[in-house]
């Protein structure tokens, strides 16, 4: 039964179907919330079931090695465009993360969003479909389609429900990412034409395009276009300037999805498409990417320390954490790449949790200034405990998830770029500095201003507990996740 149902198609379009079901209930907000959360949970259940069932399945016929699921249909025949979706260990992990973060995003908006509720939930679900599509597409045209489709709901989320300079941030986010994407579109067409002239048959299928022979100069240009599009999303320093604005001004659900998922699509794109399509060009770009990654690690943490706004602080910390992902990709060894993939999940969980926590503070006190708070430990103990836990996770405390990812990246990259790894180790210390400052100012200094604070509700506690269990599990026992990516990472790095 597993192989007869188009499971991946269901996985991609289930949230979209849920979104359409919201339309008849437009003004009944309570029902809209429940239905949307139900759709999110159904998606998560389906993904979880696939994750449990997948490793035991036999190799799908017609699919490249390492893929558990594979669906392939003709779409635009003349151009060799097909609807090809597949799932290997890396996409499976990303799909799990997508479904998980979507549920968190739906849950944190429960009380925070009071206006245009149905539209808010509809956009989150549409975005979940788009992101799922990005992680599962293996046809470059299809991939590009999902890649751009997922921008539109985020643009509306930031622009309609955002804070501060929301319109500026929404437009900046959209234009910044689109500028990179459109050049990638030309590069995609370029690869397609070069392959077509060589092979005699035109196709956008990734497995076929991987074997394209190219002049080094051409490959360099095309890879640069791919890398630009993906690096903007990751974001790699110095292409990160959209991120602090977008994260800070987005509503909580928007920040959670941005940090938890959209940044991952960039890293995923480099791993899935950038390197395999242009291995030689990628190797020649690796030193540059390494320098930028390490700069990002140090710079992100450095700037995070100077922030007065908590959300901006978490946003800049993302730049630092994603630098580790970029470093692991640049080194391109089996260990470093596994670390990168693991770190993508870790960062999604911890930063998502931190944005959720900041959102909860903002809901109560209506400010995000670090200076405004103090003494929360005595006032709201449950909240403070979770805050401490996720701050420590973000700072890379051993036993929690980020440590596992960052350590694997560094261990895997050391042989290739020893100097960069040494510098990046400094980057592990810096987060500790701003995290301790944040925790101290927020939780332990005496209260500066009387703010209306109440401890977590059942719903909020549930969300955070779910995230905390995931973070601890990933930190203590990452082996099942690393096993999942072992085969695809081996195939990608040519060591399997």
């Amino acid at each position: 039964m597993l192989t007869t149902l188009p499971l991946l198609t269901i996985l991609i379009f289930l949230p979209l179907a849920g979104a359409l079901c919201l339309v008849p209930l437009w003004h009944r907000e309570e029902r809209v919330r429940r239905l949307a959360l139900g759709a999110g949970l159904a998606e998560l259940a389906l993904t979880g079931w696939l994750a449990l069932a997948a490793p035991g399945l036999p190799q799908v016929q017609g699919a490249p090695a390492g893929f558990f699921f594979w669906e392939d249909l003709p779409w635009i025949g003349r151009f060799g465009i097909r609807y090809t979706v597949g799932m290997d260990g890396i996409s499976l992990l990303m799909a799990l993360l997508t479904a998980f973060v979507t549920v968190i995003a739906l849950a944190v908006s429960w009380n925070a969003v009071k206006e245009r509720v149905a539209l808010h939930y509809l956009l989150i679900l549409v975005m979940a479909s788009g992101i799922m599509g990005v992680f599962l597409s293996l046809d470059l045209f299809l991939f590009y389609l999902f890649w751009e489709v997922m921008l539109v709901p985020m643009f509306f989320l930031i622009g309609i429900w955002g804070h501060g300079r929301r319109i500026y941030s929404a437009v900046k986010f959209f234009l910044y990412t689109l500028a990179g994407s459109l050049l990638m579109l030309l590069a995609i067409i370029g690869v397609y034409l070069i392959h077509g002239t060589q092979a005699g048959s035109y196709t956008f299928a990734l497995p076929a395009l991987v074997h394209t022979q190219m002049a080094p100069r051409t490959a360099g240009w095309l890879f640069a276009a791919f890398l630009l599009a993906f690096a903007i999303k990751v974001p790699v320093f110095p292409l990160h300037t959209w991120l602090p604005d977008a994260h800070t001004d987005a509503p909580t659900a928007g920040s959670v999805i941005l940090a938890g998922l959209l940044l991952k699509t960039g890293a995923y794109g480099i791993i899935r498409f950038g390197y395999p399509l242009f291995p030689a060009a990628a190797a020649s770009f690796a030193p540059l990417l390494t320098v930028l990654a390490v700069t990002g690690i140090v710079y992100g943490s450095w700037v995070a320390y100077a922030q007065a706004d908590m959300k901006r602080l978490v946003a800049y910390s993302s730049v630092g954490h994603m630098g580790f992902v970029a470093l692991g990709i640049a080194a391109w060894t089996p260990v470093s790449l596994s670390g990168s993939v693991l770190q993508m999940v870790n960062h999604g969980v911890t930063t998502g949790a931190l944005f959720a926590l900041v959102g909860m503070l903002d809901e109560r006190a209506e400010t995000r200034e670090i200076e405004a708070f103090g003494g929360l430990w005595g006032k709201v103990p449950l909240f403070s405990a979770f805050f401490l836990l996720f701050s420590m996770a973000s700072a890379g405390l051993p036993g929690l998830n980020n440590f596992a990812g960052e350590f694997t990246v560094l261990a895997g990259s050391f042989r290739v770029f020893p100097l960069a790894v040494v510098l990046a180790f400094v980057g592990i210390i810096l987060p500790l500095v701003y995290t301790i400052k944040l925790v101290q100012q927020l939780l332990f200094v005496t209260e500066r201003r009387p703010l209306p604070m109440s401890d977590l509700s059942w719903r909020e506690g549930g969300i955070l507990a779910l995230l905390a269990v995931t973070a601890i599990y990933l930190g203590v026992h990452p082996a099942p996740f690393l096993d999942l990516v072992k085969v695809p990472v081996g195939l990608l790095t040519g060591t399997h």
Binding site: F155, R166, I167, F174, I189
Partner: protein, 469 residues
């Protein structure tokens, strides 16, 4: 002329007879049924075109209703039908009355049909001028408002010059090649007449005349004023069918000519200037219709890029884009028309909050903006994709990269409309009209076409490519 000839040009006859009927009806029963008869006539002509009749040439008239001609006549007829549906209530709200409006729309489509079916330079010119003549009239039809008359005068003056250019170009080509039939003339022009200054001048004049119609930079100056001044449904018609007909004009000439350097260089320049100037100037506009005018200039720059990449599959891409662009602009100007209560909203700021106050019309307008910006899954994305694929295949890498970069710029001004619709609250009482049934049907049809062509562009693309075999 034989009975068979008459039979084969039936769609054109239906259009002409329909136009006359509407006019005559005004004398008998003024103010009634004229829109209905117009729509029925147009849909009838379109259906006649779309059925599979054997290809028939009528040499005595210089027309042949090839599949190419039938396809575009059907497209223009359906566009005009949508325009009539959009105009009915708009005209009533604005006090534009009379049978001459639907009749002129039908005459314009007749001109487009003749143009699409021409095999000879004379009907080609007559078709082009016939449809332009109808537009002189339509642009100025709102007699109550001076800006409509001003737009009409500007269009007339510039159009007359362009017509003279076109006619003189045709005359020079005739003088140089001795042929008025398109195929032998173009053949003589490009295969044999290389470097003949008379012919090159003729070609230049012809291109200049058509560039005016398509409003390519530097022949674009009339466009913003006319778009701003003319009634919204007329602009919807002008920006889709009239531009489409001018692109058809080039599609009739260029494949017969083959892309030599003599054609490539001017088209390259026109495309580059239109993409750059159109997109940059659109950034500065505050008036929505004016912004869409510059956007139209830029969009036609992309079509020109497709035309000059004809050997790489660009003719098919251009034809596809004409269809996609028709749907997008009908949606955009249709939404503007259907939101107009008394006076048209000029400023983009006037659209604040309408995405929530008028969800359907606002939604269609936003969809049109995303489509024009080339965001998937819309016809604007697939259309641009086909154009850039053809351009790269032809080796026009520089122009394709410039085109993509200017497309990034264009996203900014399209987003500004969306920002006003959804992200800025409405101030005061909302005066926008609620859509009537014909308007809702038209807008829904345009929106469906935008999405269907964005998700399943395959069948249409196959078909338009087959037209150039």
């Amino acid at each position: 002329m034989t009975i068979a000839d008459i039979w084969s040009i039936m769609p054109l006859l239906i259009l002409a007879c329909g136009a006359l009927t509407v006019l005559l009806l005004g004398a008998v029963a003024p103010g009634r049924y004229s829109t209905a008869i117009g729509v029925v006539t147009l849909v009838g002509a379109a259906l006649w075109c779309l059925q599979h009749t054997p290809e028939a040439a009528v040499p005595t008239l210089g027309v042949a209703l090839t599949p190419f001609a039938r396809f575009f006549t059907a497209l223009f007829s359906l566009t005009a039908a949508v325009v009539l549906l959009l105009s009915r209530d708009y005209n009533e709200r604005r006090g534009i009355r009379g049978e001459e409006y639907p009749a002129t729309v039908l005459f314009a489509v007749f001109g487009m049909g003749v143009l699409s079916a021409s095999t000879n330079f004379l009907p080609l010119f007559l078709g082009l001028e016939g449809l332009t003549f109808a537009f002189y009239f339509l642009v100025a039809i709102d007699r109550e408002r001076p800006e409509s008359g001003e737009a009409g005068l500007k269009y007339l003056l510039m159009g007359a010059v362009a017509a003279a250019f076109t006619a003189f170009g045709i005359a020079l080509i005739y003088a140089g090649t001795g042929a008025l039939d398109v195929a032998p003339a173009m053949h003589a022009l490009f295969r044999e007449g290389k470097g003949n200054p008379l012919l090159l001048a003729g070609l230049g004049f012809l291109l200049a005349g058509v560039a005016f119609k398509i409003s390519l930079v530097p022949a674009h100056l009339w466009t913003p004023d006319v778009y701003q001044g003319a009634p919204a449904p007329v602009v919807a018609f002008l920006s889709t069918a009239s531009k489409g007909a001018a692109v058809v004009f080039l599609l009739l000439l260029l494949p017969a000519a083959g892309m030599g350097e003599a054609l490539r260089i001017p088209l390259w320049g026109l495309s580059l200037l239109s993409m750059v100037v159109g997109n940059l100037a659109a950034l500065l506009q505050k008036n929505l219709k004016r912004m869409l005018a510059y956007s139209a200039i830029a969009q036609m720059g992309y079509v020109t890029l497709a035309l000059l990449s004809g050997d790489g599959g660009g003719y098919g891409a251009a034809a596809f884009y004409v269809v996609a662009y028709t749907a997008m602009n009908l949606a955009a100007f249709g939404a503007v028309a259907s939101l107009t209560e008394g006076e048209e909203f000029g400023d983009m700021e006037d659209y604040r909050g309408l995405g929530f106050e008028r969800p359907f019309q606002g939604g269609v307008l936003a969809l049109a903006m995303f489509a024009l910006a080339g965001i998937p899954p819309t016809a604007g994305f697939t259309g641009k994709f086909f154009i850039f694929a053809a351009a790269l295949r032809r080796g026009e890498i520089v122009l394709a990269v410039i085109g993509i970069l200017t497309a990034v710029v264009s996203v900014y001004y399209y987003l500004r409309v969306v920002v006003n619709l959804y992200m800025r609250p409405a101030e005061g009482e909302v005066v926008a009209a609620r859509g009537t049934l014909p308007e809702t049907v038209s807008l829904a049809a345009a929106a469906v076409v935008i999405l269907v062509l964005g998700i399943f562009p395959g069948p249409l693309m196959e078909f338009v490519i087959s037209l150039f075999r």
